[in-house]
C-alpha cells in the first residue's frame, strides 16, 4: 500500500459551494430513538471536536450503530438535535462517508465500484488507480468486486468511502469479521486517513483496536453516553461501573 495524492479527491466546489464550511464541532442534544418498541437512545448528549478518531463502545444493543446511522443521516431520530456546526443534514451527509460491517459491493468490477462513487459525486476518475494502489487493490482492479476476500472487500469499501473525500468517516464495526492481518491493514488505512485530517468516528467491540486507533472513547449505556474520556484513561481507569463491567467481560444490562 502506498501513500496517496489527496488533492485528487478534494471536494468539487461546483457541487458544494459551501463545501469547506466546517462540519465540526458536532453537538448532539437529547437524542431519542426507539427501535422494536424499546427506547434505544434515550436523551443522548454528545460533543465531538474537529480532530482525531473517536471510538464508540458499549454492550450489544446499546445503540452504537443506530447512533452512527443517526449522525450520518441514514436514520431520523424520534427526538433531539444533531448539529453539524449549522450545516443542513443533507449537506452534512454529502460530506461524510460510511463503511458498514458487511461491505455492500456493487455487482461490478473493483474499479467500476470506485467509478460509480466518483461519478455519483461528480469527480473525475483520474485519481482512481492511485486510490486502489493506496488500499493495495490496484492489481485486482478488473476483478469482480464480489469475488474479493473479506479483507479485500472491506478495503475496497474503505477506498470507496475515501474516494468521496469525506470530512467525516464513519466505521461501523468495519473489522468485526476480519482476521488480524486484514484488521491491521484497515487500521493502517484508518490511521492514515486520520493523519490526513479526516475525522474518524468508529464503532468497535475490539478494545485492542480502540486502544490502537482511538484518541477518545464514547461509552454508551442505558441509551446515553455514560462516559466520554480520552482512550489513554478510559482503559486503565474507567469512570463508571458499566464501563468497568464491560471491559472486564461481565454482562452489561
Amino acid at each position: 500500500m502506498s501513500s496517496i495524492d489527496t488533492a485528487a479527491f478534494r471536494p468539487d466546489t461546483s457541487i458544494a459551494p459551501d463545501g469547506y464550511a466546517p462540519l465540526l464541532p458536532l453537538r448532539v442534544r437529547g437524542l431519542q430513538l426507539g427501535f422494536d418498541g424499546a427506547m434505544v437512545l434515550n436523551g443522548l448528549d454528545l460533543d465531538l471536536g474537529p480532530h482525531g478518531c473517536t471510538a464508540i463502545m458499549g454492550a450489544n444493543g446499546a445503540g452504537k450503530s443506530l447512533l452512527l446511522k443517526c449522525l450520518h443521516g441514514l436514520i431520523s431520530p424520534d427526538a433531539g438535535q444533531i448539529d453539524w456546526s449549522g450545516q443542513s443534514p443533507t449537506q452534512a451527509t454529502r460530506r461524510q462517508a460510511m463503511v458498514f460491517q458487511k461491505p455492500v459491493l456493487l455487482r461490478r468490477s473493483v474499479a467500476a465500484n470506485l467509478d460509480f462513487v466518483l461519478k455519483a459525486r461528480g469527480k473525475s476518475r483520474h485519481g482512481r488507480d492511485a486510490l486502489l494502489d493506496h488500499v493495495g487493490l490496484l492489481h485486482k482492479a478488473r476483478h469482480p468486486a464480489r469475488r474479493l476476500s473479506g479483507g479485500e472487500a472491506q478495503r475496497l469499501a474503505l477506498a470507496r468511502a475515501l474516494a468521496t473525500d469525506p470530512d467525516i468517516l464513519f466505521l461501523d464495526e468495519a473489522t468485526a469479521s476480519l482476521d488480524p492481518a486484514a484488521t491491521q491493514a484497515i487500521e493502517t488505512l484508518v490511521r492514515d486517513a486520520c493523519a490526513r485530517g479526516i475525522r474518524v468516528i468508529c464503532v468497535t467491540h475490539d478494545a485492542g483496536q480502540a486502544k490502537r486507533i482511538a484518541d477518545d472513547i464514547v461509552f454508551l449505556h442505558g441509551g446515553r453516553v455514560s462516559e466520554h474520556t480520552p482512550a489513554k484513561t478510559f482503559f486503565p481507569e474507567p469512570q463508571t461501573q458499566a464501563a468497568r463491567d464491560y471491559l472486564n467481560g461481565r454482562i452489561v444490562l
Binding site: L74, A97, M98, V104, L106, R107, P144, R147
Partner: protein, 235 residues
Amino acid sequence: MQNIGEAFSLALALVASGDADLFEIVGLSLQVSLSATVLACLIGLPIGALVAISKFPGRGALLVLMNALMGLPPVVVGLMVYLNFSRSGPLGFLGLLYTPTAMIVAQTILIAPIVAALSRQVLEDLHAEYAEHFRSLCLSRMQTVSALLWDARYSLLTVALAGFGRAVAEVGAVIIVGGNIDHLTRVMTTAIALETSKGDLALALALGLVLLTIALGVNAAVQSLRMSARRQAYV
C-alpha cells in the same frame, strides 16, 4: 389430413428446404415479438424500478394490480386494441388496424405488466441490499434507478425473456388486431391455428418446430449469459 408421421416428415422437409413462406412468417413473428419485448422493457423496467424503490400510500394495492395484470387475457387485450384502432375508434384515424404495428401495440400491452411486475420484485430485493449505501452517497432517485437496472441486468434478461416468451407464443391478441392476413400480418401462432383448422399439419408442425427451436435457442443463450455472469458474481 396427413397422419402425424407424414406431417412430421413434411415439416422437416419444409424447414430444410428454406421455404420462403415459412421463413416470411417466422421473420414477421420475430419482428413483432422482439419489438414488443423492447417496448415493454422500455415501459415496464422504469415502472418496476420506481415502484421497487418507492414507499407511498396504496403501494400494496398497486402491487396487487400489477401482479393481476400479468394474467391479462390476450383476447381481451386484442379486443381493446381493436376497438381503439377500428375505423370508429379514437385512434382509427391512424389506420393501424390489421398491420404489424397494431400487433406490436397489442403484445406490448400484454407483456409490459409482466416486465414491470417481475422486475419490481428483482429490483426491490437488490435495493434492500444497496439502500443504506445509496443513501449514504445521497444518490438521486434517477441515479438509484439506473444503478439498480445496471446491476440487475442479468436477472432482468430473464424477465425480458419471460415477456418475449409470452409474446411470441400468444395468438388471441394478434389474430384480432392483425387479422392473420397472408404476407402481411400472418405470424407463427396464427398460421399454426389456421393450418391446423385446414388440416395442413405439415406447415403447422414446421412452424411449431421453429417456434420451439427459437424458444429453446433464446433460453439457452440467456442461460449461458447468466451462468457466465454468475461465475463473475454479477448475478
